[in-house]
Symmetry: C2
Subunit: 347 residues, 2 copies
Amino acid sequence: MRFEEALSNYGNLVDSRLEACFRELVWDAEKYHSFIGRVYAHAAEFLLRKGKRIASYSTLLTYKGYKGMVNEEILTVCVAVEFYRHSILVHDDLIDRDEMRRGGKSFHKLFAEFNDRFGEGLAVFTGNILLALALTTLLNAGFDRRTLQEAVKLLIKDYCAVNESQILDLLFEHKEPDVEEWKVMASKRAASLFRATLGIGAILGGAPSSDLRILEQAGTCMGYSFDIQDDIIGTFATEDQYGRPTGGDIMLRKKPLHMVYAYQMLRGRRLSLLKSLLRGGSLDQGDVMRIKEIIRRSGALDKAKQTARSYAREAVRLIRATAMSEEAKASLQGLIKFVVGSLDWYK
Amino acid sequence: MRFEEALSNYGNLVDSRLEACFRELVWDAEKYHSFIGRVYAHAAEFLLRKGKRIASYSTLLTYKGYKGMVNEEILTVCVAVEFYRHSILVHDDLIDRDEMRRGGKSFHKLFAEFNDRFGEGLAVFTGNILLALALTTLLNAGFDRRTLQEAVKLLIKDYCAVNESQILDLLFEHKEPDVEEWKVMASKRAASLFRATLGIGAILGGAPSSDLRILEQAGTCMGYSFDIQDDIIGTFATEDQYGRPTGGDIMLRKKPLHMVYAYQMLRGRRLSLLKSLLRGGSLDQGDVMRIKEIIRRSGALDKAKQTARSYAREAVRLIRATAMSEEAKASLQGLIKFVVGSLDWYK
């Protein structure tokens, strides 16, 4: 079975469970207030849009790699990971002023009936509720207390890290970080997420503790490569490929690795041009195109792609060094290739 | 010892531990990024402003009532409860556009150096970090896994409820809820918080399960009385008593119980006047004064005070029915009287 097919089958599996959770949430909420029922119905629609489910799939594969099978307990954990991921996305879209997510309205834009403050409040509070759902689902997944507590601690540690990286990401809009400073931020973003998702799968699957350390490094490398390619897509894909307008990072003066590299690699007139374009007021589509072209020509885009691929290779090497089943290793390798494979599409 | 004195001593005890936690957080963060260090330093200043610490004090007293003593473990849990409370306050101030909290700037106003979006993002993400700190602190408090897991579940259940109540609170700005609908919202606000804080103290203190059920009701009643008086203070206190401008609820068209009662009790011309005042655009201080006067004259303020006092009496009755030590019962009674006692100040 091709990797994409396996991922899609997995997506259907986890989606049907997510849907069942939301059916119950809406049903219960309707009993005390119809508007809360509506909020959960919107959250269901938001979560059930076709996402790639890569984070929770990495938990499933790691678990399977040690346990030798997939069961209802780990699928419940995967549902928790999806609640968790979307809790972060809802807050992220709000603060980045993204109006679309996976071809639909971002969460804060789903509640525009009264005023912006209403949509903003709904996004903050529903994001929080999704986190509560993630933790409750995880705590009720039917594993023993000791491993469950370790898994919860890992998830909370990542939650803290992810929110720190969001703060740095905002700060970087107003400064020019070098590669080291970018890495501090990125080490707490997808790197931290995959440390948690691989770690949770491994702990619950009963991995030896030496493997936990290897997977921590593997998750970090996977995360770096994921973030770099995700940022490249968000700037260099077409709107059709991306499902929403691209170039938002440039508009907000964000500093993904390809931009950090551009600052590092450019000299003279082109560097001044980039700086002056980014210094000004609001950018139009022409400015965005020019900035993309400067990044491309500087070699920064290619260098960022190379870095993503090199982290991906390192992740594969580390995963091969674990005691996981060969089948799970091959699937995780497929997942990593799937992530960086798309890099060729964006020129 | 008078209750206020005991509360103040407790405040010093928990503050010194909070301060130590933040010292460590700032120290660790400085190692990887000075701005994250600055965020934690601001969070420390925000949490260490003189607050009443009533929620965490109720956890301490309940624990003491069963365990017969106070120890480091429960004080750590109290620190977790304070992290938790402030996580909610940071988001609450942001969405309510409150610019002050306890005589200082609200959290989103502490980071105004770049633009509003920056302060908003800092508040969303730091609020999230405070929740992560609450859960981590609770999980590391040194209790056995079983009781700890119950305590974590209670806190997360409350977190979900509190965020649902925040959503209803926002919705009510745009409608006229009756008492029953108000109660749905309020049952998930302080009522839910005190269910959690008393419940956590009781579970960790080893209370019999019959007492857990009584304390659930007691916490609910405490919460209702707390919320009603808190809303009354926010509208009817002087700015000096309140530590920030009052009347914000009226400006935002919120529907605290005294407002719900006013809609219920007013007839004819006065009801039309209230509705037309609240329907219009932005309200000036004169409008706010007139609305307060209408609420007072309708008898709604007095009725809300009576309701708060009646919930307080019920809370005291329920606490007396538990197997807690007499000393703890007396202290919790003191805490409840302290909350509703202030009602006489606001005319």
